[in-house]
C-alpha cells in the first residue's frame, strides 16, 4: 500500500526523536550550501538554531517562487521576512529561527552565549567575516573548547582565491564540472540544480559528524574548512584522472556517453529516455526490444563497434523510441536486464510508483505557505531507529524566545530588553495542534 506520512508541527507531536537527538547546532548559515548541511542535521533530530539577521532574515527567503506568488522569482524588497519561498521552505525544514543582529556588540555576546551551549557551529559567510564579527575560532574556542566549527565557503579559508566572489555558475566553472558538460561545439554548461553548493553542504555534514564524534571522545573541537569549488574538483573522477594519467583532456560530448555510443539521453514519444546499451552480452536484447533486427548486426555487438557506427545505431533506434512512451521504454529495458532510465519531470517524480510505494515523500504543513509534498529521508534507516523527523521550516524569529531560554537560559525580560535595543527580533509564533 502506498504510504504518505503526514507530520505536522514540532517533534513532540510525532513522538519521534531522531538519530541526533540532543545535539545542538548553532546555525549561522544562509543561502544554499550551509543550510543544506544543517538541514541534514535537523532532519536527523538535532536542535538546529538558525540565526537570522533582522529585519528580513536569510536572503534565500527572498528567492522564489513563493507559495502565494508562484510567478515571482525574486522579492526585491528587504524590509521584512518572506515566509513562503520554495527554497527556504525546503532548505530550512526542521530548524528553529532566532532573529539576531551579529553586528552589534550585544548580538555578538548573545552568539557567544549560544556557542557556549552548542556542540556544532556551521557558518558560510565570506571568509574573514567571522573574525570581523568577533566570532573567530579562538574566541569561540575560549567559550567552548569542544565546539566543532564548520565553515563552508566558495574557495576555502586560505589560498589566493579566498576572497573571490562566486555564484553557482562560477563555482561550477572553476571546479572543473562545467568544462565537461554540454555540446562540444557550444559553450560549457552548468547543471540546472545547484549541485556544487548542495554537494559541498552534504560533505560538510559528513566531516562535521566525524569531528563531533572525536570531540565527544576527547573534549576537543576543531575547525573544518569546506570549499565548494574544491568539492567539485573531488568528484571529477575520470574526467580529471585521464588527463593526470595520459595527458588527454576530457571533452564535452553532449548527450552521448564519453567514449560510448547508445549510452545517453534520447527523445521518445512523451519525453526523453536514457539508453544504456551495456554490458555487451545484453546488446542483442536491445535489438529484440526495439524490434529492429538490424541492431543485432555483429558490427554493433561491442562497445567499440557501436561507437564506430554511432550514427547508424542512433538512426536505427530512434524510430522505435519516438513511437514509445518513456516509462514503457524504461521498463522494457529493465525487464530485460538493461539499465535504461528516463528523464523524470517534477510531475513524474511526485507520482513515481517506486517512491510512493516506499513512502518516500512527506507532507508538511506550514502556517503561511500551506501544505506541500517534500522529499523525505535521503537515506532510509531501519524504522525502529526513529532516525528522521520532518518539521516545517520556521517563521523568521519564531523561536527567539524559546531558543534563548532553552540554551543560554535568558528570561523573557532579558529577551525583551535585547529586542528593545534591536539586538534580537522576536517574530510571530503560531500555535499548532
Amino acid at each position: 500500500m502506498p504510504r504518505l506520512q503526514s507530520l505536522v508541527g514540532d517533534a513532540t507531536i510525532s513522538g519521534m526523536s531522531g538519530l541526533l537527538e540532543g545535539v545542538r547546532v548553532l546555525d549561522l548559515t544562509h543561502h544554499i550550501a550551509g543550510p543544506y548541511c544543517t538541514r541534514l542535521m535537523a532532519g536527523l533530530g538535532a536542535d538546529v538554531v538558525k540565526v537570522e539577521r533582522p529585519p528580513a532574515g536569510d536572503p534565500i527567503r527572498r528567492l522564489g517562487p513563493f507559495a502565494s506568488r508562484p510567478n515571482v522569482f525574486r522579492e526585491y524588497g528587504a524590509d521584512e521576512p518572506v515566509e513562503d519561498s520554495a527554497w527556504h521552505l525546503y532548505l530550512n525544514v526542521g530548524k528553529r529561527s532566532i532573529g539576531l543582529d551579529l553586528k552589534t556588540g550585544e548580538g555578538r555576546q548573545v552568539a557567544l552565549n549560544l556557542a557556549g551551549k552548542a556542540d556544532i557551529l556551521v557558518e558560510n559567510f565570506a571568509p574573514g567575516t567571522m573574525d570581523r564579527l568577533g566570532l573567530g575560532y579562538e574566541e569561540l574556542r575560549a567559550v567552548n573548547p569542544a565546539l566543532v566549527v564548520t565553515s563552508i565557503s566558495n574557495f576555502g579559508q586560505t589560498g589566493p582565491y579566498r576572497d573571490w566572489r562566486a555564484a553557482e555558475a562560477n563555482l561550477y566553472a572553476m571546479g572543473g564540472l562545467m568544462n565537461i558538460t554540454g555540446e562540444p561545439d557550444q559553450e560549457p554548461l552548468k547543471e540546472g540544480a545547484p549541485l556544487a553548493q548542495l554537494g559541498a553542504g552534504q560533505n560538510a555534514f559528513a566531516a562535521t559528524m566525524a569531528a563531533l564524534m572525536l570531540a565527544e571522545e576527547t573534549g576537543e573541537g576543531q575547525e573544518i574548512d569546506i570549499s565548494i569549488a574544491e568539492y567539485a574538483t573531488n568528484i571529477l573522477e575520470n574526467a580529471l584522472m585521464q588527463y593526470s594519467y595520459s595527458g588527454q583532456e576530457y571533452t564535452r560530448v553532449g548527450n552521448r556517453g564519453y567514449g560510448r555510443a547508445a549510452w545517453g539521453i534520447y527523445p521518445c514519444q512523451d519525453g526523453h529516455v536514457g539508453i544504456i546499451a551495456g554490458p555487451d552480452h545484453r546488446w542483442p536484447e536491445v535489438a529484440r526490444i526495439m524490434e529492429r533486427e538490424e541492431l543485432a548486426d555483429p558490427r554493433y555487438g561491442s562497445r567499440r563497434g557501436r561507437q564506430e557506427f554511432a550514427d547508424e545505431v542512433d538512426a536505427l533506434m530512434l524510430p522505435w523510441l519516438i513511437e514509445h512512451d518513456k516509462v514503457d521504454i524504461f521498463k522494457a529495458g529493465q525487464e530485460s536486464g538493461l539499465g535504461f532510465s528516463f528523464v523524470a519531470t517534477m510531475k513524474d517524480i511526485l507520482e513515481m510508483e517506486q517512491l510512493v510505494a516506499r513512502g518516500y515523500f512527506v507532507n508538511i504543513e506550514h502556517p503561511v505557505a500551506g501544505a506541500f509534498t517534500y522529499p523525505g529521508a535521503p537515506i532510509t534507516c531501519e524504522p525502529d531507529a526513529d532516525a528522521w523527523l520532518f518539521r516545517r521550516a520556521p517563521l523568521f524569529g519564531e523561536h527567539t524566545l524559546p531558543a534563548l531560554s532553552d540554551w543560554p537560559g535568558f528570561d523573557g525580560a532579558r529577551v525583551n530588553e535585547l529586542a528593545g535595543k534591536g539586538v534580537v527580533s522576536v517574530g510571530q509564533t503560531v500555535s499548532e495542534g
Binding site: 538519530l19 541526533l20 541534514l40 528567492l63 517562487p65 525574486r74 526585491y76 520554495a86 525546503y90 574557495f155 586560505t158 589560498g159 555558475a169 562560477n170 566553472a173 572553476m174 572543473g176 564540472l177 562545467m178 558538460t181 559553450e187 540546472g192 549541485l195 548542495l198 554537494g199 559528513a206 566531516a207 564524534m213 572525536l214 576537543e220 575547525e223 574548512d225 574544491e230 574538483t233 568528484i235 573522477e237 575520470n238 584522472m241 585521464q242 593526470s244 594519467y245 549510452w263 539521453i265 526523453h272 544504456i276 554490458p279 536486464g337 539499465g339 532510465s341 523524470a344 519531470t345 517506486q354 510505494a357 516506499r358 506541500f372 523525505g376 532510509t380 534507516c381 531501519e382 531507529a385
Partner: protein, 426 residues
Amino acid sequence: MPPSNQQPLRNYRVLDLSRIWAGPYCTKLMADLGAEVIKMESLSVYDSHRGPVSPARGIASYPDSEPGDEPWNRNGWFNCLHMSKYGITLELTSDEGRRAFERLVSISDVLIENFRQGSLERLGYDYGALRKHRPDLIYVSMPAFGNTGPWKGYLGYGIGQEQLSGMAHLTGYPGDGPMKSGINHGDPITGSHAAGVLLAALRRRRRTGKGMYIDVSQQESAVAFMGPELLAYQMTGEEPERIGNRSRWYAPCNTYPCADEDRWITIAATNDTEWAALLSAMNAKGLADDPRFATAEARMANQDDLDAIIAGWTGNQDAFALAERLQAAGVPAGPVLRGPDLLADRHYTERGTFVTVDHPQVGPKQYPGIPWKMSATPGEVRWPSPTLGQHNREIFGGLLGLTGDEIDALESDGVIGTKPTGSRII
C-alpha cells in the same frame, strides 16, 4: 586540540563490498577520516572501475594510454577512489571463503555493499544472518532503487539517476531537450549522504550499543537535491524551464567566450553592487544609463541583449586575466577550468587540493585529495589505491590470524588471489 594522529574514525573498521562509485565514494570519505576500510573484491567479478581484463590499447584512463600487463591495477578511474583503503579478494562461493568472510564481518563495525538488490541475500547474508556474526553491525545496503518497492530489482547507473531524479530535466537550453552532465552526479551524492548518516548511526551505536540496517535508494538520495524544484512545481503548476547557464534570480549570469579556442569565462552580477562593479570594469558608461539594464528586474527581462553585449566585450580577452580583473573589481567571475588548468592552478596548488601519490604500477600521479581541511586532524592520503588482492596476506594473516600455509591453501584453491579469473566487465 586532539593530537593530529588521532583520526576521528581511527577505531572503526569498514568491510567494503561496494563497487563503481556511489559506495566507494562513501568509503573514500570514511578512509579520509581515518577509518580502516577493507575493500573486498571477487577475482571473477572485480570492481568494474578497474576496467576490462584485456582492454584495447589507447584508452586514456591508463598511464600514457598503455594498459600494461595488469591493466586492472593501472586504471585511473579506479585508482582515484580507493586510496587509503586495504584491498583483498575473496570468493563467497566456497566454504572457506564464507568462513573467512564471516570472520571479517565479526570484527567489522560496518558492512557496505551496492550490489544489485538481493545479491548478498541470495548468498545467505541478509541483515539477520550478518548480525549473527556481529550483533551490533551497521549494514549499509545501497542498491539503485532501495531494497523494497516494485523497482527494487531494477538496475541503475549514475547516468540513470541523474535522469530519474529530475536533474537532467533541469539541465540544458530553453526550447531544447534535457542534457546529461559530464559525470554521474547521482553517485557522489549518494555516497556522501550515506557517509553522513552512517556516521550518525555509528555515534548512536556508541551511545546505545545498537547496530542498524540502512537501506539506501540511490534514487531517493538524488531526489533529495531536487526538493526546492519539487516545491516550486507544486506552487507554479508548471515544469521548470531549462535556462542554460542563466539564473532565475539575477542577470547577467552566463558563460561567455574568450580569446583562444575553447576558452570561456563565467560572469554573474547577483545584486546592484556587483552590477555597478561590472559596469565600471567594463568601462561601459553608456550601459549605466541604459533603461534596459537600470534595475535588477530590467536586467532579467533584457538578458538576451545584455549577454550579447558582455560576450562582445569578453570575446577577445584572456579568460584568466579577465577573471582576475573582474574579481579585483568585486564581480563574481571565473574562467572555465579544464583538466590541465585545475592541476596547475595556483589556488588549488597552495591548498593541496590535488595530491601526488606514487602507485607501484603507475608511478607518481596527481589525484583529488581529501575534500575538506580539518584543523586538528587533517588526515592524509595514507597509501595509493590497492592493487587487486594487494593486502590479502596482511588482512587474512595479520588481522584474522591465518597461518602462511592456510593462506597458501586459500590461494591454491582460488578463494583468494591477485589475478582476475573472469572478464564480466561492462
